[in-house]
């Protein structure tokens, strides 16, 4: 995950809006040469004569709070009160808005400064308009609460009254704008409730699935349980004869990754009628050639590969073989974790209307431009003919980075000749996912007498082809403790994959945290060291690897140490606990954020695990933009990790996913959600995102707490509590 560096080569664009007012935008210098049209709603800010400021939220909202936090950046530098701000979601339009992706926890990282410059640019134009009108130097004017003031003459004017005049001025040079000093912030750093909260609480239409169009019909799309299958036969006549069913037809596969899968579409007057008709299709599938993947088969293959020489060597620094031979103690252990589903509560859905070669789409998507490309390719229409409305997503977690449901809706709507809302059933959603891949790690470490790790080897068993890893199934060469152990060897072997995989919250790291920080815990106990002290020793003196703090392959041991110590202090690390209760600690760096978690767990004699509390310390740079949303993200991310560790696994039987609904894929429940105390450590680094990095340290902290409570080391997720019986 590299190459996300914020572009500093941008220019402000501005113009008048109908009815008198100002709009302002920001265009990358190198993207497109055509000037933006003032008539188009393509700017970040619109200021109306009545002083209402409309800020366009550029990114998809999946619950990470960017519809609130990113506009806050603009409003701060514009110097308006949040109460006079209205938020409007952007259309998908990369040319105007730049990257519009909910992924990689990158919104804050990429937008913290550019969006402030957008606000500052608009403010500068309003000041210039006021100064020109009053015949005073702009430097003598100040702004606050949506007003420009000139102290010398006692004059003031509202932004609304200045907007038309400002619209005639040339936009300032974006690079020369002076931004506020943090101590002057009025909005950034203050808790601001989500801008959609009231509409959510009152049940107003808001989410993708809430879309309704005139003449719209409802669709289900029946697909093969084994990916890659095609329709051998389906009783379309029986389905079409049912009351309320309008159409039923076979959809052929389009071919190509992430594109349209084969299946049968049923179009009806309401979704329930379409879904009820589904069993009557009695669809027979032609299954794809080749062996069908099973979890049992994968586990056997992983064991076979682990016993054989690794297929690839990824890192080999020092001499791990010699170091293991010379170690005073060696420890070997194998860890594994299962496939996971994203299971957002709003099932995949999309509404589409096709008129001639124009396609209009209403989608809950994390990656609209990728969807546009896919729809353009599969339907054979120019990308510019596709309009994508980015609707609020009922959860994302990475699932909506791929857009199969968007292509399906567009194809089905065109074939049906009416606007169509396609909704996947929960069972569709669970069985047609892009899974977090399972994996196996075969670890060995050597220890010196002083408790130093002298050697670390990992034979990673994953999925992929001869040359590469499957999507989200790789491992980065810098994954901790790389660079912190002198003799370090990382190798890998892969087996083929027959189901699609994808990015789940803190991809790869969500599993690596568990593996690495559990094994480190084993090593601490192997030498009789305190798990906190052992980690402090491993991190050593503060040092930094990588280009800068925005380098995904970097590592700052000082930042890791600070959050580790903070979480330990918050939890009262070292305190004595009753029998079968324990504290576990872990830390992890991912998505540019450093997090440490301490779990306090109690294990009953029947093995049942109760997590009493979690303490979490995180460092995502020098500024938390919206402390309310930030706290929510961290608490949610940590509890998400807890829920997945305690009960979630997707298994494959005969090539198909065995789990179907929340009955066999349990989510964490309120009664099982412990308190999560969170502290943000501010460090002198650029602010970065929070959707993902809080997750990975929690599963190992839980497993380590269970070990502290019981002496049983659980090396596989989900944690098998049956092994914990007294």
């Amino acid at each position: 995950m590299t190459g996300f560096g914020p572009s500093r080569r941008s220019v402000l664009t501005a113009g008048a809006i109908a009815g008198g007012g100002l709009w302002i935008g920001l265009s990358p210098v190198n993207a497109g040469t055509e000037p933006a049209s003032a008539a188009a709603l393509n700017a970040f800010i619109r200021i109306a004569p009545d002083g209402i400021v409309t800020i366009i939220a550029q990114n998809p909202e999946i619950g990470q709070g960017v519809r609130t936090s990113i506009p806050m950046l603009i409003a701060e530098e514009l110097d308006v009160d949040w109460g006079q701000v209205r938020i409007e979601p952007a259309l998908a339009d990369a040319k105007t808005y730049g990257r519009q992706v909910a992924g990689g926890s990158m919104a804050t990282t990429l937008q913290y400064e550019p969006m402030r410059r957008v606000g500052a640019g608009a403010r500068a134009m309003l000041v210039a308009a006021a100064a020109a009108g009053w015949g005073v130097p702009a430097a003598e004017c100040s702004t606050a609460h949506g007003m420009v003031r000139h102290a010398g003459s006692g004059r003031s004017a509202s932004y609304g009254s200045l907007a038309s005049a400002a619209a005639t001025l040339p936009p300032p040079d974006v690079a020369k704008l002076v931004l506020k000093a943090p101590h002057d912030f009025r909005l950034i750093g203050k808790p601001v409730p989500g801008v959609d909260n009231r509409r959510i609480a009152e049940g107003e239409p808001l989410f993708g699935i809430d879309t309704r169009l005139p003449g719209m019909k409802y669709a289900v799309f029946d697909k093969c349980p084994v990916p890659g299958g095609s329709v051998a036969s389906a009783d379309l006549a029986a389905v079409k004869a049912r009351r309320g069913v309008a159409q039923a037809f076979v959809v052929p596969a389009s071919g190509g990754e992430g594109a349209l899968a084969a299946g049968v579409a049923i179009i009806a007057d309401n979704w329930w009628t379409a879904n009820q008709a589904r069993p009557h299709l009695a669809t027979k599938w032609t299954l794809p050639a080749g062996p069908r993947q099973t979890t049992a088969g994968d586990n056997a293959e992983a064991a076979r590969l682990a016993a054989a020489a690794p297929q690839r060597l990824l890192v080999d620094s020092g001499d791990s073989k010699a170091a293991l031979a010379a170690a005073v103690k060696t420890v070997k252990a194998s860890y594994s974790y299962p496939f996971l589903a994203h299971a957002p509560l709003e099932p995949m859905n999309c509404t589409a209307r096709v008129t001639g070669d124009k396609v209009e789409i209403w989608a809950p998507t994390q990656s609209p431009e990728a969807g546009r490309k896919l729809v353009a390719k599969v339907l054979g229409v120019p990308p510019a003919n596709i309009t994508i409305h980015m609707l609020r997503c009922g959860g994302g977690f990475g699932r909506r980075l791929t857009n199969e449901y968007m292509v399906e809706a567009a194809w089905i709507a065109r074939a049906a000749g009416v606007p169509v809302k396609l909704v996947w059933s929960r069972e569709d959603d669970m069985t047609q996912g892009n899974l977090r891949p399972g994996g196996w790690h075969n670890l060995e470490a050597g220890l010196a007498a002083d408790g130093s790790i002298t050697a670390w080897t990992n034979h990673f068993i994953s999925y992929g082809g001869p040359q590469d890893f499957a999507r989200a199934a790789g491992i980065d060469e810098t994954q901790f403790p790389a660079r912190f152990v002198p003799n370090f060897r990382l190798s890998a072997s892969v087996m083929p994959l027959a189901v699609p995989t994808g990015y789940l919250r803190a991809p790869e790291n969500n599993a690596f945290g568990f593996v690495m920080q559990s094994f480190i815990d084993e090593l601490a106990h192997a030498v009789g060291a305190d798990p906190l002290a052992f980690r402090q020793h491993l991190l050593g003196a503060p040092r930094r690897f990588g280009k800068d703090s925005l380098d995904f392959t970097g590592y700052d041991s000082g930042r890791a140490r600070t959050v580790l110590d903070k979480a330990a202090a918050m939890a009262g690390w070292g305190r004595k606990l009753p029998d079968r209760q324990g504290l576990g600690i872990a830390f992890h760096f991912s998505h540019l954020g450093y997090f440490a978690t301490v779990v306090e767990a109690a294990v009953a004699t029947d093995g049942a695990v109760t997590v009493k509390k979690l303490w979490v310390a995180g460092d995502v740079g020098r500024q938390i933009v919206n402390p309310s949303g930030a706290l929510n993200q961290v608490q949610g991310g940590v509890l998400d990790a807890l829920g997945s560790s305690l009960g979630q696994a997707i298994t494959l039987e005969d090539g198909a996913i065995a789990q179907r609904n929340f009955g066999d894929y349990p989510l964490l429940r309120l009664a099982d959600a412990p308190p999560v105390e969170v502290a943000f450590v501010l460090s002198d680094n650029p602010p970065t995102g929070l959707g993902e990095p809080a997750y990975p340290a929690t599963p190992p902290a839980l497993a380590n707490a269970i070990f502290a409570a019981t002496g049983v080391r659980l090396r596989s997720l989900p944690l098998d509590t049956a092994a914990l019986k007294a």
């Binding site: 909202e61 999946i62 619950g63 990470q64 709070g65 409730p193 989500g194 959609d196 909260n197 009231r198 959510i200 609480a201 009152e202 049940g203 107003e204 239409p205 808001l206 989410f207 699935i209 809430d210 309704r212 309320g244 007057d269 309401n270 979704w271 329930w272 009628t273 879904n275 299971a343 957002p344 509560l345 709003e346 099932p347 609020r392 997503c393 009922g394 959860g395 994302g396 977690f397 909704v423 059933s425 929960r426 929510n632 993200q633 608490q635 949610g636 509890l639 998400d640 829920g643 609904n661 929340f662 009955g663 989510l667 964490l668 429940r669 309120l670 009664a671 099982d672 959600a673 308190p675």
Partner: protein, 153 residues
């Protein structure tokens, strides 16, 4: 055959299959899309509505089973003082992340406070544990119920 319903204090007549779950009558036939589809199996609580003040899963309630019971959906929650208090607490404590489950959470919470105006943690657990939140906003859900109920956290 037309089915007569009373939804949020308004009479409504629909002509649908009597087996059609109330969820889909609300969403697709009447355009009341605040009530959410999550699982279709009574496992997640996203579709929680009230029948005569009792919380039910609309996805598991055939429209023919409603009879003369008064239906309250999230769109009608603010008609009661307690409903408004809960909504205000949800907004001010910034409960939602994605927000998709929150209509169901609010309806479950409203039913809880109607039966138990000053709930303890155990009563909150029992009433709310059938409502899944994939974003795990449970800490704030609990706080918001207590705020609306005037119970000290």
């Amino acid at each position: 055959m037309p089915t007569r319903l009373r939804i949020n204090n308004k009479p409504v007549t629909v002509t649908v299959d009597p087996d059609m779950p109330l969820l889909w009558v609300l969403r697709d036939e009447l355009g009341l899309v605040g009530t959410k589809f999550g699982c279709g199996a009574g496992l997640c609580g996203a579709c929680t509505v009230h029948l005569d003040g009792q919380p039910v899963r609309a996805c598991q309630t055939p429209v023919s089973a409603v009879g003369t019971a008064a239906i309250t959906t999230i769109e009608g929650l603010s008609a009661s003082a307690m409903g408004r208090k809960l909504q205000d607490a949800w907004v001010s404590l910034d409960v939602p992340q994605c927000g998709y489950c929150q209509a169901g959470q609010l309806m479950a919470a409203a039913a809880l406070l109607k039966a138990t105006p000053k709930p303890g943690d155990g009563e909150i657990d029992a009433a709310m544990t059938g409502n899944l939140c994939r974003c795990a906003t449970y800490t704030r859900i609990r706080q918001a119920i207590k705020l609306a109920a005037g119970v000290t956290a």
